[in-house]
Structures are given as structure tokens and as C-alpha cells.
Amino acid sequence: MISGPQLPRTRAGLLELLAHHLGEMERGLEVVALGLELDPSCTVDVLAKDAAGGPVLAFAVDQDSEAELPSTVLATRAWLATGRAALARACPAEGLDWERDPRLVALALDLQCGTLQVLAELPKGAVEVYRVLPFRVGGQVVVSIQSLLGEGAMQAENTLRVPTGVTNPEARSLGSRYLDLVGRLDPEIRVEGDRYFRVLRYGGQTLAELGLRDGHLQVKVPADEGVAEMELQTRQDCTVAVDRTARRFLECEAPTPGQTGSSAMEPLQRSIEDAQRLSDDEVVSLGASIDDDG
């Protein structure tokens, strides 16, 4: 049974929810510390590190704190401009790379459109905003994360590209080559992902995962004996990973008509394309003029 959204009633409940489910917002996100008071007007609810080790400062936004969110973001950015080194010394967590620009993330159960519009007018990349909706499914809390603003929102539209969190040019090139070649196997291959991660599916089955690990891209392909893991450090690695993924593709069952849009959608698509091709007579009758080139 599914029930929800089940929203926590207290701020403590909200913080607990976010701390437990932060990793579902983005693969590899780990909590480092909770309740970091930078100064009396600027408290970070969660300090986390992302898959590349970059610091992530997260704010839990409820009805009471929503109005202050834009000013809190600006105040935190201003504080980090001078206090980042001190914060690095104060929080020397393993694997936390303070050389990377800290990301500010706001996690809200609900957000007024007006607040989102104000946040959208802040400097690009100032803050990423996510809506978090907890549901109870079969006795367990499952969290739905919706990206409202920032890189997460954009990435949902560009999943065949290498995750933007991968900054090393060589890794990006290899990742791009891998995704390009795998994407050619079949147009029904679906790709989802976030800043550091991509999962490729075919007919509802996982073909492969592409993610960042220790600064290198890694491909994981399900196999009989478990999972085959391959690092992409050379073009040869890339070829091996594509070959392994292609073998996995051949093992997967093709999507049935009920699983994809192919059965009913294709005739409709053809019908649409046909309907959109208007004859000169039709166009002229509607009132448009035809130039010499037709």
C-alpha cells in the first residue's frame, strides 16, 4: 500500500528525513556533519560530500525558513568567500576536497513559486533546489526527489551526455565516447542520472551504470557472477566496457509493446508527420502565401 506524501510535522523530523535520504538526491552524496553554525545569521543544516569529494552545504527549508532562503544563500556565499579555509580546517573529514567550490543545496517539502522565482534570479549556480516528497510504501519511507532549480534540473534533459560533475577532460572524453557508442545500440535505451552518475536501461532492465569513483569514471555491468566493474582510463578500457555492455544488451529481452511507446505511438507519429505535410493548396486556402521556392 502506498500512502503519502507524509510530511514531517517538526523541523527535527524534517532534518532527520533529509539526513537519511540525502544519498537519494544524488548518487554518492554522504553526510559529514549536521547543524553547522557559520555565524549567528547563517546555519547550514547538513554538510555533505559529493561523489567527487566536493563539499555540499544543504539547507532544510520549511514554511518558517522559506522566506529567508534567498538571503541565507547569499549570506552563506558571502561567508564562504572569506571563511572557506577556516571551515576546511574545522571540518577535515576524510575525502572532503575543499579545493572544489562548495555547492549550496536547498531541500524543501514545499516551495512557493515566488520563492523559486527569486532564487532563479540569483547568480547562476548559486543554489540547487530540490523538492522532497516522502511516501510510505509497504511500511517503508520512500522519498521522491524533484529537481526544481539548478544543475539537477538541467541534467534530467541531457542524460546522454557525460555527467557535468566529471570535470577531468580526459575522463569526459572517454565517458562521452562510451555513452555515444552504447546509445547507438538501440533507440529504446533509456538513460537517467544526476551530476555524477548515469544508469542505462533497456526494456526496464539495467544495462550498465556509469559513475565517478576516485576521480575516474567507472562502468558497472550486471553479469552472471555479480557485477563487472571497469575503470575508463584509456580508449581500450572504453572499448572493453562497450563490448561488455553490448553483450549485456543482447542478453536483455527486447521491450514488449506494452513497455515502450513503439506499438501505438509509431502509427500515431507517422500520422502526425503525414498530417503536418500540407499541400500548397491547403496552405494557400488557409491564407498563407507560397514563395517561389515553394
Binding site: G4, D110, L133, M265, I272, S285, L286
Partner: protein
């Protein structure tokens, strides 16, 4: 039956009459009238019309739910002042029921909001579309009218949504680009088996009466080249009070119920009501529920 607008002076009589009619309803299974609001291109004022029709129908005593089917770019929640906690995205993903997602608005109709800013929703698979249709079927069993605000333009997904409808209201304007796209949509609908009847609303009309002239041209071309008849519902004038509206303002029928544009909207509602059996829920005919209707129109065989 004529639909009348609710004002402070006549709402009592309108509601008494409507409630009187409701008392005489049969207890046999009913299904709501499904009206799809469509446009051949974006920016024609489709969502403006959909939200105001929903408000007008609700004021006339109908149980109305507006379903924002503009997957990925839905904005009906903004026009109706709702900040949704869950959307159709959650219904399609099986994370919530449509009853949980449906929310009340402060203006009468209920709303099922669309996901916003999620392009994937504009590319639903057939399985996801069927999950959506099944959810809408449940709503259709409880409401008088389901208004589907469909995605602008022509895509397989928007066409599937139109094929669910008892009646399609196509919004266009006098620009040639809008007329061409509207005609392509009419042509496309006509080519489907058992297409729903289609009516035209011409929006952003600068000169009163030019809406009918625009319709006439569109109708002539549709009859001559596509072999189909379309009907005229009315025109909506170009109105700065509409184009300069800001988010957070109530729908026009609430904020300016006496203005000329509102009168045009009431006239359109009245025409629509005449075309659709008073916009009363209809007896549920076996095999004609939403899902069966879609399968019939797509010539699909039932599965499972």
C-alpha cells in the same frame, strides 16, 4: 439547458435549478463528460481558457476536475494559485493515487497538476500512458466533467490524450501559423478511427467578429481537404487585462466576471454545454469507458 454564470444576484436561482436537476439523477453508473482543450501550437491561450472554463463550470454547479495534461510544462497550478505537493508524475510512477494528487483550488474546480520542468513526462511510454488513463477513469466515475488541458502542439502523447475525450475544444488565433497548426491537428485527429467531435475557439481577436471569419476559413479548409466538420464555439478578444495578468491573480472569471472577455467565455461555455448534452455526466455504457475508448480509437486489442 443553458449554463449561466454565477453572480451575486442570480447564483441562488442557478444553483437551485442545478441542484434540482441533480436530485432527479439516475443511480445507474455514470461517467463524466471528458472535454480536451487543445492547441496546434503553444501560446494560443489554451491554459487560460481551460482554467476559466473549469471555474465557470464549477460556478454553474458542476463537479469539475481540471487535469493538467501539459506534461513537462504544466502551469494550470500557477493559474489556479495552487502549490502542489504531488503531481501526475507521482501517479504515473505509482507513488501516489490520482485521488491523493488531486487538490482543491480556491476557485471551485479541483486540479490534478502536471509535473513541471520534467521533460521525460512529455515522452511517456505506452505503459505509462495506460496507467494514466486508468487513473483518469477512476476520476471520470466521480466527476461531472473532466477537463483535460493537453500539451500544445502535436505529439503522439498529446494525440492520445485527445483521443480520450468526448469532445475536443481546439484553441487557435487569427495568425496564419496558429491556423496552420490547428488545421494539421484537425487533419491528424480526423484520420484516427472514431475521432471525437471538434469545436473551435478563436482567441486574441483584435476586431470583434473576426473570430468567426477565422473559423470559417479553417472550417472550409478542413471540410475541403480533410473531409471533416468542425464547430464554432466563439471568440475571445485581445485583452490587455488578460495578457498582462500576473501569476497569483485569480482566474479572470473570478477577478473580472463582468468584463467583455468574461462575457465571451460564458458564451463559449454555453455553446459547449449545448454541444455536449448540458455537460451532464452521461450513463456509463459498457465498453465505452476511457480505456476502452482509447483502445477503440487506436484499434488496439485489450490486454490483460
Amino acid at each position: 439547458m443553458r449554463l449561466e454564470r454565477k453572480t451575486t444576484t442570480d447564483s441562488g436561482s442557478v444553483f437551485r435549478r442545478l441542484f434540482g436537476e441533480r436530485g432527479a439523477r439516475s443511480s445507474s453508473p455514470r461517467e463524466s463528460q471528458v472535454i480536451a482543450i487543445a492547441s496546434g501550437k503553444g501560446g494560443t491561450g489554451k491554459s487560460f481558457l481551460a482554467t476559466n472554463l473549469a471555474v465557470g463550470l464549477s460556478a454553474a454547479g458542476r463537479a469539475v476536475t481540471l487535469v493538467d495534461g501539459d506534461f513537462g510544462l504544466g502551469n494550470a497550478h500557477l493559474l489556479l494559485g495552487v502549490n502542489p505537493r504531488a503531481t501526475l508524475q507521482h501517479v504515473i510512477a505509482g507513488q501516489a493515487s490520482i485521488e491523493q494528487v488531486r487538490c482543491a483550488t480556491g476557485f471551485g474546480p479541483c486540479l490534478v497538476p502536471a509535473g513541471s520542468g520534467i521533460s521525460r513526462l512529455a515522452e511517456l511510454s505506452e505503459r505509462e500512458m495506460l496507467a494514466l488513463v486508468q487513473a483518469l477513469s477512476r476520476l471520470a466515475a466521480t466527476e461531472d466533467v473532466l477537463l483535460l488541458d493537453t500539451a500544445a502542439g502535436i505529439s503522439p502523447q498529446s494525440l492520445l490524450t485527445l483521443l480520450l475525450a468526448d469532445h475536443v475544444v481546439l484553441v487557435t488565433n487569427p495568425e496564419i501559423a496558429a491556423m496552420t497548426d490547428a488545421y494539421a491537428l484537425i487533419k491528424c485527429l480526423t484520420r484516427q478511427p472514431d475521432p471525437p467531435p471538434t469545436s473551435i475557439v478563436v482567441n486574441r481577436v483584435a476586431v470583434p467578429g473576426f473570430g468567426r471569419a477565422t473559423f470559417q476559413r479553417l472550417s472550409d479548409v478542413a471540410r475541403r481537404f480533410a473531409g471533416c466538420d468542425v464547430h464554432y464555439l466563439g471568440e475571445v478578444p485581445e485583452d490587455a487585462a488578460v495578457t498582462q495578468r500576473r501569476l497569483g491573480q485569480p482566474p479572470l472569471l473570478v477577478s473580472h466576471p463582468e468584463c467583455p472577455t468574461a462575457q465571451c467565455l460564458y458564451a463559449i461555455l454555453d455553446q459547449l454545454s449545448r454541444r455536449c448534452g448540458g455537460l451532464e455526466p452521461k450513463p456509463r455504457a459498457a465498453g465505452r469507458e476511457l480505456l476502452q475508448r482509447l483502445r477503440s480509437r487506436l484499434a488496439l486489442q485489450p490486454t490483460g
